[in-house]
């Protein structure tokens, strides 16, 4: 059994290919990128690309507030899709408590996803070419009938979501968007805590030393490139997109 389905890996541990893509300023998420970027190996090397969107056929999240909103939308799409699959086919012998938690998370994440679509569409004044498209997902051999796999995946998704919002806050310039991100990230943190306790009841894992620094009491914060590299490594997201204009 695969214990940890999604891992937030340090960049060094990524495959050579991913590392190359990242160093080349070409972080791309989604399985299709292997085709779309196949000629990068020969040409661009380590040079930063001055073209903000060198692959016009692949959606780029954009920069600034728009980039952050699209980034959040991508992560919320993943969470919403994952929990939709979870609640449509709960694993066997699920407890009432776990069913309640996972059902709540499903509603929250679907709401977040739909909110970002609406908010971004409004922000770009209807220029839908700037809105991240609806992504497709594939969970490979993840067994949705296996409690440990479902909860472990949920835990990693929630932990990653919190770290992503924490790391993206400084990239936001509009105080209204910052407040909205704040309203959502604390709910993600509440989720992360609950799932962690379901996995290890009675422990200190709800805000565990693996996630919160013991000397300063700070939860994780990660840059988009690190988060997207890790998410990309899961293979869950099938629709390629790039984040060339986010750190």
């Amino acid at each position: 059994m695969r214990k940890s389905i999604v891992k937030v890996k340090p960049v060094e541990k990524a495959t050579n290919r991913r590392q190359f893509l990242k160093l080349g300023g070409m972080g791309v998420v989604g399985a299709g990128l292997l085709v779309a970027c196949s000629n990068d190996d020969n040409g661009m090397g380590m040079m930063p690309d001055p073209d903000p969107n060198p692959n016009p056929d692949i959606f780029d999240l954009g920069q600034g507030d728009l980039g952050v909103l699209n980034y959040a939308y991508a992560l919320e799409q993943l969470e919403a899709d994952f929990y939709t699959k979870v609640v449509n086919s709960f694993y066997a012998n699920i407890s009432d408590e776990e069913m309640q938690v996972l059902t709540d998370l499903y509603y929250h994440e679907v709401n977040h996803r739909d909110f970002f679509k609406t908010a971004i569409t409004a922000a770009v004044e209807g220029n839908t070419e700037l809105v991240l498209p609806t992504l497709e997902f594939d969970y490979g051999d993840l067994d949705f009938n296996n409690r440990e796999q479902v909860l472990t995946t949920a835990s990693v998704l929630e932990d990653t979501g919190v770290a992503a919002y924490n790391g993206a806050g400084r990239l936001i310039s509009n105080p209204g968007y910052l407040l909205l991100a704040g309203k959502i990230v604390s709910v993600e943190a509440r989720h992360a805590s609950a799932i962690r306790t379901l996995l290890n009841p009675g422990s200190a894992d709800f805000a565990g030393d693996d996630y919160v620094t013991t000397d300063t009491g700070l939860a994780a914060a990660l840059d988009p490139s690190v988060v997207l590299s890790a998410v990309g490594d899961t293979g869950f997201i099938q629709t390629p997109f790039t984040a060339n204009n986010l750190p």
Partner: protein, 276 residues
């Protein structure tokens, strides 16, 4: 009630003592942008660019951090006394309180170091009264009994954590452009993880439904939850999102935590602060 007095002390300290050093802080923190320039203007003259996001008195990074430190002092002392009280059952409650206590102590140290590093004198730790003038007896010091004391220990922890989450959120805008924004968000998330666990320890959901304080919470804590019933986010009624059936009020309010203004956070904290 000593709220006004407390606020005054709070504000004066920031304005007077902070004045020469605040410039240092801004230098230390690097690019602060519009907020910093605004905060250099005396209060009466400052106008916020967007009224929707205008904060109350003390809308600058220093005030935000001083408020955060005040709340962290409160939480830190509360959990210390809780662990010493003998009221907490061993097992999960004690494990949970020990982990939270460790974080609150770290937050106090972190904020003091951050303020001092920026050349600002941190606010002094207030004198706390967790009986709130005799309304509670969470440490069983006045003989309320272990069971009631424990229930109050949990209820106060929930109120403090949910307040912390809302208060940090309310200060995020004041830290925009400051190097303290990211750590403040990181603390904010930790408070939310604490809040979820304490709520679940009490048998509630980890998230806030409507503006419900939840079963067993004293009415005095309702101020912590007022406003959480909001369903309009960024001008959008989130019950109406998507193409399917509308979202319930429960799910729509649970999915978003609301901010608390600095004044409201101070008002809640000052229930537990003894005026000198």
């Amino acid at each position: 009630m000593d709220i006004i007095k407390f606020l005054d002390g709070f504000t004066n300290e920031t304005l007077l003592e902070g004045k020469p050093s605040r410039r240092d802080m801004f230098g230390t923190l690097g690019s602060l942008g519009k907020k910093a320039m605004l905060s250099a203007i005396p209060f009466g003259l400052a106008t916020m660019p967007n009224k929707t996001f205008a904060q109350d008195s003390g809308s600058d990074p220093v005030s935000a951090l001083q408020l955060a430190l005040t709340l962290e002092y409160l939480e830190d002392e509360f959990y210390d006394l809780a662990l010493q009280s003998g009221v907490l059952p061993s097992g999960r409650p004690e494990t949970v309180y020990m982990q939270i206590s460790k974080h609150e102590q770290a937050h106090v140290d972190f904020l003091i170091a951050g303020l001092e590093g920026a050349g600002v004198t941190p606010v002094e730790k207030p004198t706390f009264d967790f009986t709130a003038g005799g309304a509670f007896d969470p440490f069983n010091e006045n003989g309320v009994g272990q069971e009631t004391a424990y229930a109050q220990l949990l209820a106060l922890a929930q109120a403090f954590e949910d307040t912390g989450v809302r208060a940090y959120k309310g200060q995020a805008g004041n830290l925009l452009g400051s190097d303290f924004l990211t750590p403040a968000l990181q603390i904010h998330a930790v408070e939310a993880m604490h809040a979820s666990e304490v709520r679940r320890l009490r048998g509630l959901k980890g998230w806030i439904t409507n503006n419900e304080r939840g079963a067993g919470m004293p009415e005095a804590t309702q101020a912590v939850y007022n406003g959480e019933e909001n369903v309009v986010q960024g001008g959008v009624d989130v019950t109406t999102l998507g193409s399917g059936p509308s979202f319930s009020m429960e799910a729509s309010t649970e999915a978003y935590d609301e901010a608390l203004s600095g004044d409201d956070a101070v008002a809640i904290a000052s229930l537990f602060i003894v005026s000198e």
